[in-house]
């Protein structure tokens, strides 16, 4: 407080926080960036790396729109500060497809019309990819429960469930 008052008196600017150089491996590509300590992983992706596929719905970890895979695990990128993740591997929706070939979940979401406005969709798909990797979902109710951190206000839940069930079944992990 005192330092700010002093700075103001001398009509100097109150300084913005200093930036730190970090490296994130995003979708397999090493990306160097300079971020302030208050920048979330979500804002680093959207504003610094122009990877806007990851969405901001609440900024409080309540809606799941910002879900990405961090070292293979699904996380809310809005609750993660970028500087904490120096060197980490991040997979976003932009990194799921292999070239022009869509990921099985992306195909299933289109086929089952598992979205309407599309805003929660990248988070739903990344979350579903994390769910499949966790190997915990055995029944439809398991999927519903384990996908409940991702809100879809358009209410596409039955179709999201159908899309995930289809991909699990293709992998020989039927959810019933």
């Amino acid at each position: 407080m005192a330092s700010r008052a002093a700075a103001t008196q001398k009509s100097e600017k109150f300084p913005a926080p200093a930036k730190t150089a970090i490296t994130l491996v995003v979708n397999g590509v090493s990306r160097k960036l300079e971020v302030a300590p208050w920048t979330t992983l979500l804002d680093a992706l959207r504003e610094h790396l122009d990877l806007t596929g990851t969405k901001k719905g609440c900024d409080h970890g309540q809606c799941g729109a910002c879900t990405v895979l961090l070292d293979g695990r699904r996380i809310n990128s809005c609750l993660t500060l970028a500087v904490m993740k120096d060197g980490a591997n991040v997979t976003t929706i932009e990194g799921l497809a292999e070239g022009s070939a869509l990921h099985a979940l992306q195909r299933a979401f289109i086929e089952h019309d598992a979205f309407q406005c599309g805003y929660c969709t990248p988070g739903q798909i990344c979350s579903a990819a994390g769910l499949i990797a966790e190997g915990r979902a055995r029944t439809a109710d398991d999927i519903r429960e384990l996908m409940s951190g991702n809100i879809c206000r358009c209410g596409a839940y039955p179709n999201i469930l159908a899309a995930i069930e289809q991909v699990l079944a293709q992998r020989g992990e039927p959810a019933r």
């Binding site: 700010r4 103001t8 519903r144 409940s148 209410g155």
Partner: protein, 756 residues
């Protein structure tokens, strides 16, 4: 002959963009030197701003400016400039950063603009605002004690003497139902990116349900010539009515960009989403009288809803009984009370979702009072005439909805008595309701261009907030011109395209779709004209209505003779491209709609059946099954149409069980302003939902025979769930949401508490 692609499930043409993250929403467009704005909202509900001290904020490195009512570019000074396409007729729209007056909590009072979003937000906390408070009224019950004023805009002629008929009726119920404020909460928060072009023009990416509406509004309000601004909105992350009116981030971003001569983005937080419009709270009183055989003798329905101090907003809530049932006498009233809050706005099926919740719960109560099955009671009172306008329906397959829905659900196996069905430790309840929504059409225009390489572009300034408008537009053009849908590009969300209404009210396909249909008809005519002049043409002298377009060719509909390639016809006509604009105007008979009849009533209908299971000890309510049978004219794309109904049913479950925006009346402020405390259904809350589209042919309504499906799925759903909860438990909870404390009797419903 090729079969029609109408009625064939068609995946979204923008599906790939949405699953790969390529679809860009309003806050996702880049610009060189982009600055970021953060909105500061008022902490008081009523009063004025005495002083704003921005010096501390301005002293922070990276802060560019702080705009306030005392420091801002010129804004329009007359009400008409602030009246957007959807503004209520009565009142004066709120003016962002106009003066020192505070009209609602959260009203923007300053915009901090900085080099980085975090700096803007941090600096916003350093702006000191001194308010002069005045007493506010945000408590609905307190306001009710001062009386409500009749809403003349929704006055209904009484039919017969409803009071007398009610007094005489051998079977009757009189009940009060309540609904809280609900907040739309689309997943994307409101945002505007105003890009300042080198020549001073502005390209504005806005989250809106109507780019033309935003364009008109912002150029009027911020005093920019219309030719210097374009509003784009290619993707919208949900809206549900909240984007029908331009939201305040739009003028704020544009005024900042103009003042700073650089691009500015303003994004609202989730908390700020609760400072926009909302579904207004209401109290509805219904008095229904019937003969012993169930025929309605008297239908009385009164609603008192909330609005702001500065605008009267209310939709048709009580009129629906006249449009749905047959009743000898009727008396309907709509009233308003004014609160120190922002003006409410349309939220999915505005008015219908509210009215049918109460009407259909009351019909269920009447069924029990009369000892008649709830479905049977609806059939007894089935109407062939809209009694509001005294007009027959252009089509009404509601009987088929009841029949097919009941069959799919297994309604005949229901035991009538409450608490008579169970599954282990859970009580089982089955309830049903009817739904109705008006099938409207608005003036709209669209352009279609066929190019000699076989590609088609269709364009209209409409929006796609999620229903699949891009796909609908492409599908109609593909069908009309007989080309693969992959050859068609659809463009929308651009104020410079042919004018379209806001996307809402379930009227986009009937309006924009029919305009595309008209544009493509004009292209067909030109192609037939070219083809008929070709040597030995099989189409010479053939009427356009007898020509079939398929597989890139056209041919006489009953003729096996050679078809003409569209591209050959274009070559014969020496045309590189054919461009046509199509327009529709409601109430107009044209050659595209020879059976149109303006003297018929146009409505969509539904029958909803719901099963709940309620833990007898814990009161936990699960909606385990819903069957929603819908009659909505022709269904162009069953895949996306089904999604509309599914999603609206989920919205209806939210209305019934979860959603409630709570006010802290000490501060006059919504307090559960986040997605952890404003509950919406999540995946685990949603179980089996079956959607049935019953066959309904309607050639008297519009050129496509469509009625729209955006609203109908939510109408009646909350009532079906509420009625199922009564059937399961024997307890009528008449104020939404029906939470477990109310079901278990742990807390008295507000309506009863007020009387005790």
């Amino acid at each position: 002959m090729a079969t029609s692609s109408f009625g064939v499930p068609t995946p979204r043409v923008d599906g790939r963009a949405k699953v790969t993250g390529e679809a860009k929403y309003a806050a996702e467009f880049r610009a060189r030197d982009l600055a970021y704005g953060f909105v500061i909202g008022s902490t008081i509900a009523k009063g004025r701003i005495r002083r704003i001290d921005t010096s501390e904020a301005l002293a922070i490195e990276g802060v560019l400016d702080v705009f306030t009512h005392a420091h801002r570019p010129k804004l329009a000074s007359s009400d008409d400039k602030y009246k957007d396409e959807v503004a209520p007729d009565t009142g004066s729209p709120y003016r962002p950063l106009y003066d020192d007056k505070i009209q609602f909590s959260g009203q923007p009072v300053a915009l901090v603009v900085a080099e980085e979003p975090e700096i803007a937000r941090f600096a916003a906390d350093r702006v000191r605002i001194d308010y002069e408070r005045e007493p506010h009224v945000t408590d609905f019950d307190a306001a009710l004690r001062h009386g409500a004023k009749p809403n003349e805009e929704h006055a209904h002629e009484p039919r017969g003497n409803a009071a007398e008929a009610f007094a005489r009726a051998p079977v009757k119920i009189e009940r009060e139902y309540r609904m809280p404020v609900e907040t739309h909460n689309p997943m994307e928060t409101y945002a505007t990116t105003a890009i300042y072009e080198a020549d001073g023009r502005l390209t504005v990416y806005d989250k809106t349900q109507g780019a033309p509406n935003s364009w008109n509004y912002v150029s009027n309000v911020v005093c920019i010539p219309k030719s210097k601004v374009t509003v784009l909105s290619p993707f919208v992350g949900g809206a549900f009515g909240s984007g029908l009116r331009p939201q305040y981030q739009l003028p704020l971003a544009v005024m900042a960009a103009r003042a700073l001569k650089r691009s500015v983005r303003v994004t609202l937080t989730r908390q700020q989403m609760f400072t926009l419009g909302y579904r207004p709270a209401n109290v509805q009183t219904l008095a229904l009288g019937a003969e012993r055989d169930g025929h309605l003798a008297s239908f009385r329905h009164e609603v008192i809803g909330i609005t702001s101090q500065f605008e009267d907003f209310q939709r048709n809530i009580v009129g629906w009984s006249n449009q749905l049932y047959r009743s000898a006498a009727s008396e309907l009233h709509q009233k308003l009370v004014k609160l120190d809050q922002n003006t409410p706005c349309d939220m999915r099926a505005p008015g219908g979702a509210e009215g049918l919740y109460a009407i259909e719960c009351a019909m269920d109560e009447l069924a029990y009072a009369a000892g008649i099955d709830p479905l049977e009671l609806r059939l007894i009172n089935y109407s062939e005439v809209d009694q509001e306008e005294n007009q027959p329906y252009s089509s009404k397959e509601l009987r088929a909805c009841y029949r097919q829905g009941a069959e799919k659900f297994g309604w005949s196996k229901r035991s009538r008595e409450p608490r008579s069905m169970r599954d282990g430790h859970e009580l089982v309840g089955w309830g049903m309701a009817s739904g109705i929504w008006e099938a409207m059409q608005m003036p709209a225009a669209a352009r279609a261009v066929l190019t000699a390489n076989g590609s088609v572009e269709v364009a209209s300034a409409t929006a796609d907030i999620g229903p699949g408008t891009y796909t609908m537009m492409a599908q109609i053009a593909a069908e009309m011109l007989g080309v693969p849908i992959a050859n068609v590009t659809a463009r929308l969300g651009d104020s410079s395209l042919p004018k379209a209404p806001v996307e809402g009210g379930s009227f986009t396909t009937s309006s924009v779709g029919c305009a595309i249909h008209a544009a493509c008809r004009a292209i067909r005519k030109e192609l037939i004209g070219f083809a008929s002049k070709m040597a030995n043409s099989p189409l010479a002298g053939v009427s356009p209505d007898d020509v079939v377009f398929a597989d890139g060719r056209m041919r006489h509909k009953d003729d096996a003779s050679p078809a003409v390639l569209l591209l050959d016809a274009m070559r014969a006509g020496n045309a590189e491209r054919i461009e046509k604009e199509g327009k529709v105007k409601p109430g107009e008979k044209t050659e595209a709609i020879p059976h149109y009849n303006a003297d018929l009533a146009h409505f969509t209908h539904s029958a909803i059946f719901a099963e709940v299971k309620i833990d007898e000890e814990l009161g936990v309510i699960r909606v385990t099954r819903v069957v929603n049978a819908v009659a909505a004219g022709r269904i162009l794309n069953p895949l996306t149409a089904k999604s509309q109904i599914l999603g609206a049913v989920v919205g209806g479950i939210g209305m019934a069980l979860h959603e409630e925006t709570l006010t802290d009346n000490r501060f006059g402020r919504f307090m559960n302003h986040n997605l952890a405390e404003y509950h919406v259904p999540v995946n685990a809350d949603v179980h089996a939902i079956d959607v049935i589209f019953v066959e309904e042919k309607d050639d008297a309504i519009n050129s496509l025979g469509v009625k729209g499906v955006g609203e109908i799925g939510i109408v009646g759903t909350a009532a079906a769930v509420a009625n199922a909860i009564f059937h399961a438990t024997g307890r009528r909870v008449r104020d939404l949401p029906i939470t477990l404390d109310k079901v278990m009797g742990w807390s008295k419903p507000e309506s009863q508490a007020a009387n005790s």
